[in-house]
């Protein structure tokens, strides 16, 4: 979920499957504040991703995007355009009213964009080290064990936010951590397989065969204190795995 600051209001783009859960949470929290939560079902979103995405948008007269940095948001021809996405590639997400989305889609296809399926998108986001709610974390997990500590900002000690006191109570040296797992042997890491290492173990979260690497990669939530090596049990076989930082590719470049 990403929250965009649009000046006089915020726009939240949520995972489709968790949209009612998120909407319910925001609505409940809003009781204590002078704020309105509006569910916008009159908008559609199209993600244009990949190294050529800027050129494709330019060719359909969507200009002014060259100077955008990651997570920037702007308005182009009455569309909200954000330099965000769920692929780890260069790319944009376009929010447009429902009446115009079909013609935008057709224009993008005419300009050379190619639709991809959910499976391909899922491989890309895993290679890019991006978590999936429901598989990699849910409401029972805290950010420190989900590789999401980068979303927390405690610099201003006077600033309060929901969950702050709970987060401050967590012992970060003792909790599990979310790591990347690499299996170079012939097997595929999949959800719920068990990992062991010198100082404990854990469980595979998202896992797949990575077409970019030619072997399997995964996330796992494991005990701290490993030395970069571990073992995974797949059916009746035990395989050696490498435990790495949970980021495999960024903008088409291998980073492991």
């Amino acid at each position: 979920m990403i929250v965009y600051n649009l000046g006089d209001h915020y726009r939240i783009i949520s995972n489709c499957a968790t949209c009612s859960q998120n909407h319910g949470w925001f609505t409940k929290q809003s009781d204590n504040y002078d704020v309105n939560i509006e569910f916008m079902n009159n908008f559609s979103i199209i993600a244009v991703q990949g190294p050529n995405s800027g050129n494709i948008l330019k060719s359909i007269d969507m200009n002014g995007l060259d100077e955008m940095n990651d997570f920037d948001v702007t308005n182009v021809n009455s569309m909200m355009v954000a330099k965000t996405g769920y692929t780890g590639e260069e790319g944009f997400e376009i929010v447009i009213d429902n009446a115009n989305v079909k013609s935008l889609w057709a224009n993008l296809i005419d300009a050379g964009a190619v639709p991809i399926g959910l499976g391909a998108r899922d491989t890309l986001r895993l290679e890019a080290g991006l978590n999936l709610y429901g598989t990699d974390m849910d409401s029972a997990n805290h950010p420190y064990e989900s590789n999401l500590a980068w979303t927390l900002d405690f610099k201003d000690i006077d600033r309060n936010f929901i969950g702050k006191s709970a987060l401050l109570k967590i012992d970060q040296t003792a909790c599990k951590e979310l790591k990347g797992i690499i299996l170079r042997d012939k097997g595929i890491l999949r959800s719920h397989q068990m990992i062991e290492h010198d100082s404990g173990g854990g469980e595979i979260l998202s896992g797949t065969f990575s077409p970019s690497f030619g072997f399997s990669i995964a996330f796992a939530r494991i005990d701290k204190g490993h030395n970069g090596e571990g073992k995974v049990q797949i059916r009746n076989n035990e395989f050696k795995v490498e435990i790495v930082s949970p980021l495999f590719m960024r903008k088409g470049k291998i980073v492991i």
Partner: protein
């Protein structure tokens, strides 16, 4: 979809069997199965000499999407496996009824073949 060769018999779980001239049988998975699985990346084959009963789990195919068990269509002894698949699992996608065969068996009882589906019957299963 590829045409189903007329000399094959099928399990509804998408395995095929072909009776060879020497009385052995060859086993593989159907074109429909490989299409459902998508890009196949690994395969685990049975050991030679293993005795299988009909419906035993005999092999495993892993595609990008999922791991799937392969069931033995009939009973018998595994006498040969297609080792080409270990390094070239994509052969199953490219040639499911020919180069992508899984293993050969010496069948215990040819009558078991009567319980399998004809190509026409299997084709109907795929359309359901």
């Amino acid at each position: 979809m590829k045409e189903i060769p007329g000399d094959l018999k099928f399990r509804p779980s998408h395995e095929w069997v072909r009776v060879e001239d020497d009385g052995t049988v060859t086993v593989g998975i159907s074109d429909h199965a490989q299409d459902l699985l998508g890009d196949i990346v690994f395969v685990e084959l049975p050991d030679i000499g293993v005795q299988m009963s009909a419906e035993d789990e005999v092999a495993i195919v892993e595609s990008v999407k999922a791991a799937s068990d392969v069931y033995s269509p009939i009973s018998g002894e595994v006498i040969e496996v297609n080792e080409l698949l270990l390094d070239n699992p994509e052969t199953i996608n490219e040639s499911p009824y020919s180069d992508g065969w899984f293993y050969k068996m010496q069948p215990d009882d040819m009558d078991e073949l009567g319980e399998l589906l004809s190509p026409e019957e299997y084709g109907e299963v795929c359309e359901e």
